[in-house]
Symmetry: C2
Amino acid sequence: MSKELVFGHQNPDTDAIVAAMAFAYLQQQLGNDVEAVALGEPNEETSYALRHFAAATPRIIKEASSEVDSVMLVDHNESQQSVADIKDLTVTHVVDHHRIANFETVSPLFYRAEPVGCTSTILLSMFNENKVEIPAQLAGLMMSAIISDTLLMKSPTTTEKDRIAIKTLAEIADIDFESYGLEMLKAGTNLDDKSEAELIEADAKTFDMAGKKVRIDQVNTVDIEAVFKRQAAFEAAIEADNKANGYDLFVLLITDILNSNSEALVIGEPAEAFEKAFNVKLNNHRAQLAGVVSRKKQVVPQLTEAF
Amino acid sequence: MSKELVFGHQNPDTDAIVAAMAFAYLQQQLGNDVEAVALGEPNEETSYALRHFAAATPRIIKEASSEVDSVMLVDHNESQQSVADIKDLTVTHVVDHHRIANFETVSPLFYRAEPVGCTSTILLSMFNENKVEIPAQLAGLMMSAIISDTLLMKSPTTTEKDRIAIKTLAEIADIDFESYGLEMLKAGTNLDDKSEAELIEADAKTFDMAGKKVRIDQVNTVDIEAVFKRQAAFEAAIEADNKANGYDLFVLLITDILNSNSEALVIGEPAEAFEKAFNVKLNNHRAQLAGVVSRKKQVVPQLTEAF
C-alpha cells in the first residue's frame, strides 16, 4: 500500500494523540507505511505524558490530501471532528470508542469500535490479537490515555477492560499508575496561563443535533468555583465563538476531576433542550450536574435525545 | 443484559442467515441472551446448506421492537437494508464487511468491520480471539457462507483471510469444500420455478445515491442467455417494482458463476449514470460486464462515484 496518515480528532486530547502513535506503530510492525500525525498541539496534560515518557510530539497537519490519498482515523469518526479535507480522502481504517455519526464510505473498510473508556484500550487488544509486543515507552503513553479518558477510572465510561488495560500497561511501563495518573491529570488543570478563548476551544467538539450545530467543550479542574470567577469573560468568548462559527448552542462543561462533578455554562439556543436533557433549570446560564464527568456517555446522548 | 435479536439484511443470502446464527452462538457462549432470526425466507442455496448440515432455519421476523429494545446486525449496516422498525431500536453490535452508510447511533457501540469477502470470515477471527470452539455443524454453515459470498474464491472480493477461513472451517466440518461448494452454488441457480417478480426481489438491496433510490439485484446462473430469454417479462416486473416502491434506477445483474462474468439489465433513470460508471453503452437496456461478479466491490462503488 502507499503511505497513509493516522490521526485523532481536532483539539486532540491524550487519547487522540497517543492512539494515533500506537496504531501507527502496530501498522508499521505489520509492514505498512503509516505515519502518526496530530490535528493540533498537545494540551498540557498530554505534554506532561509525552515529557514523562520522553516521546516526541507527532507532526501537526492542517490538511492531508496534498500528501496522501488514504487515512486512518483513531478516537473519532464524525467528519466535522476530523481533518478539514476529510471528504477528499479515503478512510481505510477506524479505531474508536464513540458513537457513529456523520460517517459514510464508498467502499468496505476496517472499522473497530467498542463501547469502552478509551481507544487505547481497544488498541491493547489489537496488539495482543496480532501478537505484537508493546515497547515500554508506548505502554506508558497508552496507559496515560486510558487514565485521561477515564479520569483515573472514576468516569462512568470506565469498563472492566479499561481497568485491566491500565494495570497491564503499567506493568510493561514499570510505573505506579495511581500516583503518576493523579500528577498527569493535575497537569491538565492548570488554567491560569490560558485565555477564555483558548479554554473554550481546547477540548471542544461539534455535534449535529436535529440540524443544529452544538458545540461542547470540557475543562478539567480541581476547583469549579475558581473557574466560574471568570464567567463573564467565558460568556463573551463563547458568544463571539458562536457568532464566528455559526454554533447554535454552546455547552461548556467544567469538571471537578477529584470529586467527579460538573457545572455547565450554556450559551445559545435552544437552551431549553439542555434543561430538558438534564431536567434542570438554568440559573444565570449555569447548572450543576451532579456525578457528570463524561461528555460521551452523560451529555451527548441525553442532549441528542432532547433535540 | 436483556434479550437481544441478531439478524442479517433483508432478502437474506447465505451469509446473512449464517452469520446471525454464528454470532448468536458466540454471544451465547459469552453468556449473553441472544437469538438469531432472519428478515426473510432462506433462498435455495441457503436451504441447500441448512439441509446438508441438518440445521434448523432461524425464525423469520417482520419487526423487532415489539419483543426487544436492542439488536445486533450482521452482514449489513445501512438502515434501509435492515428490519423495518430499525429506527425504534438500539443497535449494540455490528459485524459486517460492507461500506458504512446511512448508519448512525446515539451511543457508543461494538462495531467490527473488515474489508474481507464474508462476514463469517470475520466471525471466525472473533471465535478465535474469544477462544470459543466452533461446532462442526456451525463450521460447515460458516464455510458455506464464505463459499457463497466469494463464489468459491473466484470473486475479486476474496482475500487471503477468506481462503484460509474456508480451509480451516472445512477441516472442522470434515468436508471436501470444492465439490460441496460447487453443488451448493448450483443449487442457487435453479431459476425455473421462480417468477420474474420473485427473482428481481430475491437478492435485491436498495442504495441511496445522491438522493436517488437505486435498487440492485443479483441473480446467479450457469447460463446467462437462458435467463435473458425472459427479458421482456423481467422488464415488466422491474417497471412495476420501480413504480410501486419509488426506485429511480433498477440494475439487475445476471452473473455466470462458472465463467465469472455478468450481464446487466438496466431499467429507470438516470441510465447514463450506469453507462458512465462502467464506460459502456446500453443496448436494449443490456450491457455485458466482463469479469464483474461482485455487487459490493465492482458495482456499488462505481455507480456511487458516477452519481
